[in-house]
Symmetry: C2
Subunit: 321 residues, 2 copies
């Protein structure tokens, strides 16, 4: 593919504020720097160490600890904080927003975010909640990179009476960053993500903890023989603990609903193992294959064997006795 050049010409915002500078916030900044280089970015983060890091990561952008200052004159305010912090941040910025500004977020749950934003802003501020379905096991300001959203879906969840031009502008923003945009009801978003993201994370966190606690198997053994399947779970279970704590606490109903379904299915397979029901097991294990093929065809994962990670593995030790 030929190198592409970008300009801010068709970018919907002159100035954006990013509140929270973790993986997502800094990835947005890198992507905007790359694709709309003339856009002004103002960061705010409540961690002084992060603010210091931002100054060296993004020397041409504004960085500080006060969100009220960062949002001044911003056309888009993107809240990139853990879901549990949305309410406090919106209180802090509300009096300082520019008329006509759009407030959005990147949280993995949408109903709880909308509840926290409700009634906080005047009628000349437009709220359109959103969620880029993209991530990584890495967290913190140095984890971000410009390509995080490329070929990934961003779900926007406008609510009753939303401002149509604000939704259109936010859609252009995410597309400019390489993403594909879908619009969805917030409650439906929370159910879909409970199965595609929240439950997988909860299960990965659980099994890695279970393995660490098993008295008859050492942690060294768990690590050595992880190539049999376990290591995939450990990547997910290395994700940001605070972010995920907030996700589960703020999408309780949907998570408990899909967790109930999962537990039923697991019990059925457990019973099939106990009673030696070979056909039931083989049937179940066969039909799950088609889902993966669909994901690969949609470009949401690589088709390479073992995610293509073999070539990235450390150089093997010397062979022989």
């Amino acid at each position: 593919m030929a190198a592409e050049t970008y300009s801010s010409a068709d970018f919907p915002y002159d100035r954006i504020a990013l509140i929270g500078a973790g993986l997502i916030g800094t990835s947005v900044a890198h992507a905007v720097r790359k694709r709309a280089p003339d856009t002004l970015i103002a960061f705010a983060d409540n961690d002084p160490a992060t603010v210091a890091e931002l100054a060296s990561l993004f020397p041409d952008n504004l960085s500080g600890s006060d969100p009220a200052i960062a949002v001044k004159d911003a056309d888009l305010v993107l809240l990139c904080v853990p879901v549990g912090a949305i309410g406090a941040v919106s209180d802090a910025i509300a009096p300082h927003l520019k008329a006509g500004a759009t407030v959005s977020d990147v949280g993995s749950v949408k109903m709880a975010v909308l509840d926290q934003l409700a009634g906080k802003f005047g009628p000349d501020v437009h709220v359109v909640a959103g969620h880029p379905v993209a991530g990584s096991e890495r967290s913190g300001p140095s984890a971000g990179f410009a390509e995080l959203f490329e070929n990934r879906y961003v779900i926007l969840t406008p609510t009753e009476g939303f401002h149509i031009p604000a939704l259109q502008a936010l859609t252009r923003f995410w597309r400019k960053l390489g993403a594909m945009v879908e619009v969805m009801e917030p409650t439906h978003h929370d159910l879909v993500l409970a199965i595609t993201s929240h439950l997988p994370h909860l299960i990965a966190y659980t099994i890695v903890g279970t393995a660490a606690d098993l008295e008859d198997v050492t942690e060294g053994e768990v690590m050595k023989f992880s190539a049999g399947g376990f290591r995939d779970f450990t990547r997910i279970a290395a994700s940001d603990p605070v972010m995920w704590r907030d996700v589960f606490l703020n999408n309780k109903e949907a998570v408990l609903e899909v967790l109930g379904r999962f537990s039923e299915d697991l019990s059925a397979l457990q019973r099939a193992i106990r009673w030696g029901e070979a056909d039931r097991l083989e049937d179940w294990f066969t039909r799950t294959r088609t889902i993966r093929q669909g994901i690969v065809e949609l470009g949401q994962d690589t088709d390479e064997e073992d995610f293509g990670r073999r070539s990235k593995a450390p150089v093997p030790k010397p062979y022989g006795d």
Copy 2:
């Protein structure tokens, strides 16, 4: 790393028989071809289509459907069939083994394999069961590749009265193929692998099936938004159904034991979500991070973000509206 050249000079076997030509059997063949090119390989597989494929994949090796013929004069007979087929295959080969031959296998469970092999062979045949902890979501004869065992662990489970030179030779064989060899009690192997491999596969199969069955979420949505975590599970759940059916049926006790532990832990986290126990969730999610670091340090996974698979993903669609 400079290209290495190999010879059969320090290879412990002149002739090996591979019974079963799936991912593991053909990977062994590719690795032997690469690292001990003068060694003679005889394949047997009960699927005529596979036998035909073998003739084109390995034109210089012997391939056929009859294991009794393949094992003739073999110094090592490696059973690479699903665990449930070990008994029938060992009956078929027993009368045809060369005196002094070693019989081994590659099964993911060891007690059930040893039970099936017990008493089948004469005193001049040496049984040393084994398990290369290496795999892939791919299966079938075309899935194999020479590097599958490089920097991976192979667990050997010799039993009382084992033949020491046979164990030493089999150790040299796997090291020659790039693997690291560990010796373990078969019952302990079955417990360790239940947590590092069997339970992760069972859980991945379960959640992918649960997602496919959820009435309120379409399969298309599950696929589109899989980048939130789910897609990692689908890779594991695309593994060979027959092989995994046999693993669960033949390691029933250990799998049910660790599944019980997992279910307890999952219930505890479920309760913490329901009752909003933020600290308990954050504590659990924090301590699981160290396990991943250990796996990376042992060279059992790449340290690259997202397994380094991003660069392998399909080319994104054009940007813009």
